[in-house]
Symmetry: C2
Subunit: 691 residues, 2 copies
Amino acid sequence: MKRATIPVLTGLMLMTTFTPLHGDEGMWLLNNLPEKYLKETYDFTPTDDWVEHIQKSSVRFSNGGSASFISPNGLVMTNHHVGSDLIQSLSSKESNYMHDGFLAKSPADELKCEGLELNVLMEIRPVTDEVKGVVKPGMSDAEAAAARRAKIAEIETKAGDATGLKPQVVTLYRGARYDLYLYKRYTDVRLVMAPEHGIGFFGGDIDNFGYPRYNLDVAFFRAYEDGKPAKTPHYLKWSEAGISEGDLIFISGHPGSTRRLYTVAHLEFMRDTWLPLVLESYNQREVALQQLAASGAEQARIAAEDMLIIQNGRKAFGGMLAGLLDERVMNMKRAEEARLRGTPKADDAWGRLESALKKIETNYAEHFLLANRRTGLSELYSAAVHLVRSANQRKLPDGERFPEYQDASLPSLELRLFAETPIHDELEQLRLEDGITRVARILGGDHAIAKTLLGGIDPETRAANLLAGTKLRDIAERRRIYEGGLDAINASDDPMIQLAKAMEAYAIPARKHYEDTFESVETGAYADIADARFEKYGEKVYPDATFTLRLSIGTVKGYDLGGEHVDPFTNISGAFQHAEAHDHRDPFALPERWMKRRGKLNGSVPFNFVTTNDIIGGNSGSPMMNRKGELIGIVFDGNIQSLVWDFQFDDRVARSVGVDARAIIEALRSVYEADQLVGEILGGKTLAAAH
Amino acid sequence: MKRATIPVLTGLMLMTTFTPLHGDEGMWLLNNLPEKYLKETYDFTPTDDWVEHIQKSSVRFSNGGSASFISPNGLVMTNHHVGSDLIQSLSSKESNYMHDGFLAKSPADELKCEGLELNVLMEIRPVTDEVKGVVKPGMSDAEAAAARRAKIAEIETKAGDATGLKPQVVTLYRGARYDLYLYKRYTDVRLVMAPEHGIGFFGGDIDNFGYPRYNLDVAFFRAYEDGKPAKTPHYLKWSEAGISEGDLIFISGHPGSTRRLYTVAHLEFMRDTWLPLVLESYNQREVALQQLAASGAEQARIAAEDMLIIQNGRKAFGGMLAGLLDERVMNMKRAEEARLRGTPKADDAWGRLESALKKIETNYAEHFLLANRRTGLSELYSAAVHLVRSANQRKLPDGERFPEYQDASLPSLELRLFAETPIHDELEQLRLEDGITRVARILGGDHAIAKTLLGGIDPETRAANLLAGTKLRDIAERRRIYEGGLDAINASDDPMIQLAKAMEAYAIPARKHYEDTFESVETGAYADIADARFEKYGEKVYPDATFTLRLSIGTVKGYDLGGEHVDPFTNISGAFQHAEAHDHRDPFALPERWMKRRGKLNGSVPFNFVTTNDIIGGNSGSPMMNRKGELIGIVFDGNIQSLVWDFQFDDRVARSVGVDARAIIEALRSVYEADQLVGEILGGKTLAAAH
């Protein structure tokens, strides 16, 4: 409920007549950087070595975030909020690392994270011709999609076998280009250090997507190989000089998804069909979590991670909806679209997409409810679905499976499915009860899917019965069923397995229907629209985000809002002032350790700062670097005005928000006395700024 | 998120074969009490004097609650949560009576409540024949409804003029009977005493609808006439003896609405269409209020009253939905219905209702959004709507107006419209922004109603602009426009008035459409269904609740749940134990005054208790009496199992929850040192129990 207004984008219309890009806009592919823009605007030329170094220092977290290596011994830095589900899993009522923070005194004390996988991009190979080549004239959209899917599976399996790396064919420009990405996988990852959640997420939901900020949103992990710290020759060195307003900043990370190439009809579908379902689900879940958290301290602890995810999503998606409800924004998108249309090929693509959207609109709620993850039914139910679905999918030829069940993806699936993460019954009950109620609320109590979920009784009792009867808390039982395949599924009397089996009868046809009537059309149509863009603007346009490695460009820069100037930097003193201004009332209470060691901290050290770099969710934890490729900060947020970046970039008041590298060192030294960690990070350097 | 289960009602099916009533079921009309049941079950015969005394001691709060006179000098007792919007209005940042409580040292210190009206039922006159007599053969449902409405307006105006009382023709049995109720109005009402919200609503949202409980949910007001305490010869005397398990208890109050006579099709409509909209609205608003409240102490204060209403509604409606999703409950309703059906007249009524429901289903969201109150747009917008609508309505003949704008209702409307209650801009912004967003989310961004509300910009800016431009904070300006009528409306450039005017173009046709296609059919059909019930079960069936005076019958009685026995009484010590068990964590922190004076309190005094009396929302604040008509407690809640009472009574585990009168005296004496108030209440009596 920020009082700041969503930016008015109409002023940009004139600027966009001759180029589709605004200022530093762009989530650039590492094999297609905007060299000309960099040269002309910043007098900077990235060398091949510079690019390779950044690429191989960048790390992807399988739970949806970004990170970087910051020492030759596998030390990884990401955000506290990227690591928080792992920190939460490692915590218990007795050792609450989320609340109290954690610091390993030595490597032996580092805590193994279950179910986590880190990926480092080693190589990119273009495969557009191979993938597109399998589509023959006369094929329907669905047939073309099936042919592409089979080809992609074949490319991935071959590359995986040949290199030992994790292969992923990435669909770029929504279908105009395909690249094969090859990743090194790290599956032994351990927690090294995390500050208290109270400073990692200081200001909580209220300050989230706000600025000025004062967050130490960092956590440190270490990648291991063969039981020893991994050797990581490519890592980012800490900048000695720090940064100032106006400096050129690079961000290398994994933006999750954007919809900047969406047509107006597709944005309207988002606004009127998808976002309402998302927000309704998030609101219902948030209210349920608030009740659980208020019922006791331990309940608050176990609800904390779900709450973070839900509140963050509610705010992000709420900001998107507000942007899409603004006619000034939509009119700008309409104008952009009008400039691209006009050729028969492009116009036909727009028409196909619009009619495909109409086709899925009617039953979209079913697809949404059957497919969605974050407000899903429960950990145990999700395990049951994976067991049932993987048993069915593994019977099929590799190229006919859903991508997440193809041979190349099974190791990652198994890592998650067999992870020994804590299951909290009260939280599982909430998720199930809330999830079942939501389905019945949206589809109606007589809908077959609702009836299957309810099983003839009320949601609360149904959830309790499922949880009382299932044996899937036991990882050995999951393994037994997974290895037993379809026979084990069919023989199981586990109520969660039986429910998942019954739900597959709705989920699989709904997914296939969605893929055939919409996704296959979407890919073809957007490929044609992308071609129209290439023709008009050349190849130097960037594709929508795909949770793969991108480089973004920007500068440290304040902004004016409501007649006031917002300085790009905050400092450590500001955190204490912010806490005082809110009477140290939750979520503005600083951790005890900070209050105690206030006198030791240098209050003038820069804490958080804003830049014009183009980012989106998934970029959290991305390293921020100077021209030399040295680390100067870490991305953790965008301000509220940046929420429209999902479908429209604008850098007049929208900003990325980072933690200044200097504050990280200051806090590690003065608050956490983590001298060994600081030594590893700095490698003998001393820092200049503000000391 | 109570873990207790919704009761399984299937066991009742056998019991209900020969009577529609279960045990103490019934919200009885004071002119149609179940004398036979009272005599046979409790050996009790209510005399005319007994009934008249209770009727004239019972008080209705215009904000939706019940109360009673408890002294001859106009002293009124209700729940803290019934009085809380008034306490909130009287509070400020400096004098936060909600948080700190309030006690008037003398009558001169009593605080005048703005916009509040108390009603006392003085007389009931049957007018069924008069109202039904205007319906002529061949009239359409809509014509019949219009004729009835005109007749009702005529009856009310005539009775109001003749008696000086406030007239209300009450539709009973959903249209089978009509009675004219005549009320004495009190419009000068002052706050005498309120405890801290922390003990009035101890356990907050978590314990709400729970049991065991420990709430001092009481507040005291005084009715004034001509600037002096009103003379109220009918008032309830405090019981000296107190009560024990098994005692007969009467509750006299104003249950708001029940749907026990609803057909199965109508319940399915509730489940699949109405409740989903309600809950989505409540969840969205609750999430917005949580954010406002978390942003600062003063914001938490101004959000408190909206939060109470929304959280209470979310829990109540959520419980209803859970009950309706339970096939066991629905099957029971189906069986009941099957027993009533079979005559051509009744079957025809069911058919008419079902097809009318189908007709409104499609555009129901529009009607809902245009008509709903609690998650409405804002105080100032609501004032604008009243100004615009009353200007239009007052141009019409009395009998053609909406009931709330008929001459008999205007004094109550004016009392609210011109009340000097505080307007908080942050809260108004939240309500407007949230309300506009909700409409757009549910109807879609291109819907005409959404577009009118948005005015071409985003919801946040739109709300801010409306609030910046309106002059309706000024009561003199409201009066000027109200008195200026349509001319003043048309001349106004107030953006809130202009928005309300634009919205009337949708609201009025939607309401008329709803009334003509549904409400008029509903009234006729339910009247026929009620006749079928009268034929089968005789006249001793009670009508659905209508926020008019009813008497309910029950006994103090514990219950068994999940293998454990729940004792009917808690005591004062239990409150302290409950706080300790939750580490005194909000909402389980007892007020400072309670902690300090713990040693002075007699911990063994009964605090809260449960009975089998049949109540529903609106009964809050109802006096609970023994056979002698003496006050022994005050209703403030039902347990979670009672939420299905909305459409189905059951008294195996569902219970009403009250504050024991003995705890009220104990707290007033030992915690609040309110000796003068205690003296007025007891009138020289001494209490026996537990002292």
